[in-house]
């Protein structure tokens, strides 16, 4: 079964073709990141304008690289949400028009399901499993007892981890996107600034306290005209941020009898997190997506689409719509 995936929830226009939920035949990603850098973050209206410019080219390129024609495609899987609504609607309406013109069934897929299924590309999921989802909009622990069975054990009560990274990077004067910038500069620092212990019940997360602590600390030092060691501040923050998701992951891993641990989402590209996860869970079954499948891409959507369809056998109508907020 050939699935064509479409992803446009934020600032990447992407189309991918995959076979039988396993083999990626092509994954074309048109990134707008350089365009948004000038604004210090993603500008939704600019993102929408870029998506519509690039969309048909990306479809064409993805089919060409996979050496396929539209008539080879058995299913279209498009990101339905959550994300920037204007951006989502470009991908969704392009996908619907493509599916309609070529008489192909279509389904809407949850963006986070896509991130989770980026893991299925390199290795097969073994159930039950625990997945830590970390991105700009999400920090959650998901228990999966089977394909497309998502049980949320806990989530962030305030900021997502990636959001905290971006805001700390901004106050430190580091470029957008903040995650990779902090990860990189941390190499040159010491964890010399004390950070608060994060307290939150259950398998939930909280990042606003840590974020505010760093922002206040930086502002106070600036007011007192004291020097700030940016690399060390970044490293101190990053260690506390990663320790928090690790603590909760270990707790959940011990509380549930799971066979596999996975990470997913943009922050899964963070090197410190990857090292910690390897160290802690490396003895058992562990899945960490390849770097290129951590950030937003359509390959993960087409793999997730395959399993969603296998499991639910349900297709959407031409009234399929996008949602900025959507439950997994």
């Amino acid at each position: 079964m050939i699935v064509l995936g479409v992803e446009s929830s934020c600032d990447e226009t992407s189309v991918s073709l995959s076979r039988d939920g396993k083999t990626i035949l092509s994954n074309v990603v048109l990134s707008q990141i350089d365009l948004h850098k000038a604004f210090g973050g993603v500008v939704p209206e600019i993102a929408s304008r870029e998506h519509i410019k690039g969309i048909t080219v990306v479809f064409e390129q993805a089919l060409k690289e996979a050496k396929l024609t539209p008539s080879d495609v058995d299913l279209v899987a498009v990101t339905q949400g959550p994300g920037l609504i204007g951006s989502l609607l470009i991908g969704i309406n392009a996908a619907k028009a493509f599916a309609f013109a070529n008489d192909i069934p279509i389904i809407g897929v949850h963006h986070i399901a896509g991130h989770i299924y980026a893991n299925q590309i390199a290795s097969d999921m073994v159930f039950p499993l625990l997945c830590l989802v970390v991105s700009g909009g999400h920090t959650e622990l998901i228990l999966m007892r089977d394909h497309f069975h998502f049980e949320k054990l806990g989530e962030t009560k305030d900021d997502a981890i990636g959001e905290a990274y971006d805001k700390v990077a901004r106050v430190l004067g580091l470029p957008y996107p903040g995650g990779p910038a902090i990860d990189r500069i941390s190499d040159q620092g010491q964890s010399s600034y004390p950070m608060p212990q994060i307290q939150v019940e259950g398998f939930n997360f909280s990042y606003s306290g840590l974020k505010s602590h760093v922002i206040n600390l930086v502002n106070t030092l600036r007011m007192k005209k004291e020097p700030i060691d940016v690399a060390s501040m970044a490293k101190s923050f990053q260690e506390a941020a990663v320790a928090h998701v690790m603590d909760k992951s270990i707790q959940a891993f011990n509380a549930y009898d799971v066979k596999m641990f996975m990470i997913a989402g943009g922050v899964a590209a963070n090197r410190l997190l990857r090292q910690n996860v390897e160290k802690t869970f490396g003895d058992g079954l562990l899945s960490i997506p390849a770097f290129k499948y951590c950030t937003d891409n359509a390959a993960m959507m087409s793999i997730a689409g395959y399993y969603q369809y296998q499991k639910q056998k349900d297709t959407a109508t031409m009234a399929l719509n996008g949602y900025s907020r959507l439950n997994l």
Partner: protein
């Protein structure tokens, strides 16, 4: 003489969803209905219904004409992305037409017509046309202007139009549909930079 010329017209630049099917330049079916910010839900669904009730497959379409703007950004893009994707998928001709010209084409009387769309903060996207019996001639550029100030600046009498079922025969007679040479390049005619771009330009100019 052409044996068949099947045309699909799409415009989503205003709160109204406009879809029309023409065969040999004769109107076969159309849909002109006010939506609730839901062009994304209704456009493809309505199109599918209209085509199937004619017994037309998507591949029967010879050409697509799309209202390219200006207009409400998110809504406008729905029609343009669908037109672009259909034209690319079906390898059929794609034409763009000013969404303001589509509005002006709905007016029956002759004389000056001011087609306009609300652009908030007392401003409008607007364009003045001269309507004669079967044609429409632009007499000004499309503008983003203070709506009252623009109207006060016009000496001759005119009719205002901000909604109405477009008349494609007027558009064709006036040669206002523009053939697209590269479908990949098509993007809406926004008439304005984004707010973020304007602020960035201001900052650069002021420093």
């Amino acid at each position: 003489m052409l044996q068949s010329l099947k045309t699909l017209v799409i415009d989503t630049s205003t709160p109204y969803l406009f879809l029309a099917l023409y065969d040999q330049r004769e109107l076969v079916d159309s849909h002109y209905q006010k939506g609730h910010n839901d062009h994304s839900v209704t456009l493809m669904d309505t199109l599918q219904e209209m085509l199937s009730s004619q017994g037309w497959k998507p591949a029967f379409l010879d050409e697509i004409i799309v209202g390219i703007g200006p207009g409400s950004y998110t809504g406008l893009r729905i029609g343009v992305v669908v037109a672009k994707m259909l034209a690319w998928s079906l390898s059929c001709r794609l034409y763009t037409v000013s969404s303001l010209a589509l509005l002006a084409s709905s007016v029956l009387e002759d004389g000056q017509v001011l087609a306009w769309m609300d652009a908030r903060r007392d401003h409008a996207f607007l364009e003045m046309y001269e309507k004669t019996r079967h044609t429409l001639i632009p007499v000004d550029q499309p503008r983003y202007s203070d709506f009252k100030a623009y109207q006060n600046s016009v000496k001759n009498p005119f009719v205002l139009v901000s909604s109405g079922h477009p008349n494609m025969n007027v558009i064709w007679a006036s040669d206002l549909a523009v053939l697209v040479t590269d479908v990949h390049q098509v993007e809406p005619f926004y008439l304005r930079d984004t707010e973020a771009e304007r602020q960035l330009k201001d900052r650069v100019n002021n420093s």
